[in-house]
């Protein structure tokens, strides 16, 4: 069976493969490189431009792609603001949100996947329905809610990143629970059953069997939630308000450069590059999971 398509393919390729001239190469493959190069320039130019902005001494108006003089002045301007504080806040917000999101989702997914109870189907559909209301739309209500919380518990209310974490966690259940439940369903039930025979409780099954086996999907969902929190701007801006020291990197840097584009451009470029590193690294690592996961999910429907 497998041999037939292989020979078919070689026959198709053979037709053009006989013409090994330069023109033939261009018609077949060369133009693809031209397209690729054009697209790469489109894709990379802004990136190169920020890198150059980060190191050059001039402002927005005199910057060249290859800087004429290189210095660390921009960095020095940047750290006059609590930049590293912002970075730390971002990592805390992203890290705590990711870990708790994974935990909350795993718990819910375990109940939906393994336990049978009334309202199970209804609960799943309810989650899907709730997910359709993005919390951006309720931002006014969230703002007022956190303002009220601030009156009672200032350390987790409006103007703190802990308040932001709470708001992010509200959106933790939802699509993620569905994804995780789908994965849990693929873990054979025989494993649970044999554990039950051996006298395991439901908590032992959850922590010692399901969670370790689901580690890859837990990691991916955690990392995705981390990455999403790093570039979220609107809710973070609304919840943290003008409390500069509590800002995440996304809000801090954006507000910094919006306050004075010409003066703060270079310093912003430095900060943005540093802030992008964790996200970039995670993305390059996650890329294959996302592509296979998304399309696999899509084909499954």
């Amino acid at each position: 069976m497998t041999a037939t398509p292989a020979t078919d393919r070689s026959r198709f390729q053979g037709r053009s493969g006989t013409q090994r001239t330069a023109k033939g190469w261009f018609v077949d493959t060369g133009w693809r490189h031209v397209v690729a190069l054009v697209v790469c320039v489109f894709a990379l130019f802004p990136v190169l431009w920020v890198i150059s902005a980060a190191f050059s001494t001039g402002g927005l108006e005199s910057q060249k792609l290859i800087p004429e003089s290189v210095s660390l002045n921009n960095y020095r301007t940047l750290v006059k603001r609590p930049f590293w504080r912002w970075m730390l806040n971002s990592l805390i917000v992203g890290g705590v949100t990711a870990i708790l999101t994974v935990f909350l989702c795993a718990c819910a997914a375990y109940a939906f996947s393994r336990l049978r109870f009334t309202g199970r189907r209804g609960g799943m559909l309810f989650l899907l329905l709730v997910q359709m209301f993005p919390n951006l739309l309720a931002s006014v209500a969230l703002f007022l809610l956190m303002q009220r919380v601030k009156g009672m518990f200032p350390s987790i209310g409006l103007g703190t990143y802990w308040g932001l974490i709470l708001v992010y966690l509200g959106g933790a259940l939802g699509v993620n629970t569905w994804l995780m439940k789908g994965f849990f369903d693929t873990i054979p039930r025989e494993l649970d059953e044999s554990a039950v025979v051996d006298g395991a409780t439901h908590a032992q099954i959850f922590f010692k069997i399901i969670l370790p086996l689901a580690a890859p999907v837990l990691a991916v969902i955690g990392l995705l939630s981390f990455v999403a929190s790093q570039s979220e701007f609107m809710i973070a801006d609304i919840i943290i308000q003008n409390n500069e020291k509590q800002r995440t990197a996304a809000v801090g840097l954006s507000r910094f450069v919006l306050a004075g584009f010409d003066n703060n451009w270079g310093a912003f470029a430095v900060g943005a590059l540093i802030a992008a590193i964790p996200v970039l690294v995670l993305w390059l690592f996650l890329q294959r999971f996302v592509v296979s996961g998304l399309t696999a999910g899509a084909v499954k429907g």
């Binding site: 398509p5 393919r9 693809r32 397209v35 690729a36 697209v39 790469c40 894709a43 990379l44 802004p46 431009w49 920020v50 902005a53 927005l60 108006e61 792609l65 935990f103 718990c107 819910a108 109940a111 336990l115 709730v130 359709m132 209301f133 993005p134 919390n135 951006l136 739309l137 309720a138 931002s139 006014v140 209500a141 007022l144 809610l145 009672m152 518990f153 709470l166 509200g170 959106g171 259940l173 790093q230 570039s231 701007f233 609107m234 609304i238 840097l253 450069v257 584009f261 010409d262 943005a272 802030a275 992008a276 970039l280 993305w283 890329q287 592509v291 399309t295 899509a298 084909v299 429907g301």
Partner: protein
Amino acid sequence: MAIFGLSVMVSHHDWAFAVFTVVSLVVIDATYLGGRRWIPAKYLIPGTIFLAIFVLYPVAYTVYNSLTNYGTGNNLSKSQAIELIQRNSIGASSNAVKYKLQVLAKGSPTGELAFLLTDAQGNVLLGTKQGTTPVAAGQIVKQGIRSTIEGYTALNLGQATSRQTEIQAFKVPSPAGEISNDSLTSAFAKTQGITYDAASNTMTDTATKTVYHEQDGSFVSDSGQRLLPGWRAFIGTRNYGRLQLTGTFLRVFLWTLVFAIGSVLLTFALGLFLAIVFSSERMKGKRWYRLAMVIPYALPSFMTALVWRGMFNQTFGVLNRYLGTSIPWLNQPNWARASILLVNLWLGFPYMFLVCTGALQGIPSDLKEAAVVDGATGFTAFRRITFPLLLIAVAPLLIASFAFNFNNFNIVYLLTEGRPAVQGSDAGSTDILISYMYKIAFGGGRGADYGLASALGVIIFLIVAAISAFSFRYTKMFEEVR
């Protein structure tokens, strides 16, 4: 912890919070101490609590707010507003009673302030924070050239000057208004200009006899004059009427649609084209091209939007400098719209490229080959076989991408902040619905209008829900086809 929390809530009179906490505590305890019946709940409760507080409650609260006039100028309760209006109306009328003033302090010169007031007829009053009490002539004690009474010290000019700001803020309430100082040696009585009548629920201006009636959360006179501040009041569906569904709202809504659909189509077209270009098996270096192209998608979007904003700058931006043009990228409505689409294309095409590559690989190649054997040209085979199959695979992702871009606040706000402005409207020409909502609630010249913003939020939700419901049916249809 729970007890501490409860005590704080109760001390702030936040009964709704307190009741919610008690109920959830009872539920949690019942669940975790309860028997086998409760096992599923043990796993569901942690997430559900966050869901209830930070999703369900805000959703309900948004709907509620959309029916009120909550916002700047209307953020108090009615009784607070009444008190504030009356207090603010206290002022000096032309025939105000004037007093000679001696500032006193209780005990030592740094003690609590009090005013010793003497009117034109020679009647003496002691004014404290609590009010005024008449002083008989015999109670007055001489302290050098100054007069005081038992238990108080008269402040000399130096002592009074050092406490000047305190003295200026010091007000003695009186039945008709209040008494405050004019200088360090004189004071006058201010009278309350507006009084509230609880029986008829009206405000009356005592000087002009104008009557203000309650209307939509503030007191309004017959001639339409409004007393500030107002209070939070239920105004029914009036916010929805105020959205100008046929004017500003329609314009913003149409651009939101164009933006969301345009972004999806452009990114999908470029992504698919590149996926096909890169599907050649003999092409070398694909790995590196792919890496380069994924980078825009891998960077945080707040950063890229701002970087493009710098590059688009009309006078200093790199694009105009390198192209030798002076295109008003972000300053002219249509250029600004095109710029936003361009940036979103840049941000989104890598994702579509990755998705299309994956989907193309998932399409069995024998189908296409069979078509070619049957005599179809490469393009026909693509159009009739590959493309429909591809569409089935990616349709849900296209719809998801549409829904995402419909509320893509980051790019609009960080790239243009909705500008350029449109005259006579609070929404700029590149504002999408979500950024318009943000402006109404948090940004802007005319103060926060939470009620109106909430109404807009509800409408956006209805639109998104309708689109999602439609797309669910549509994708089901696709599934049935398969």
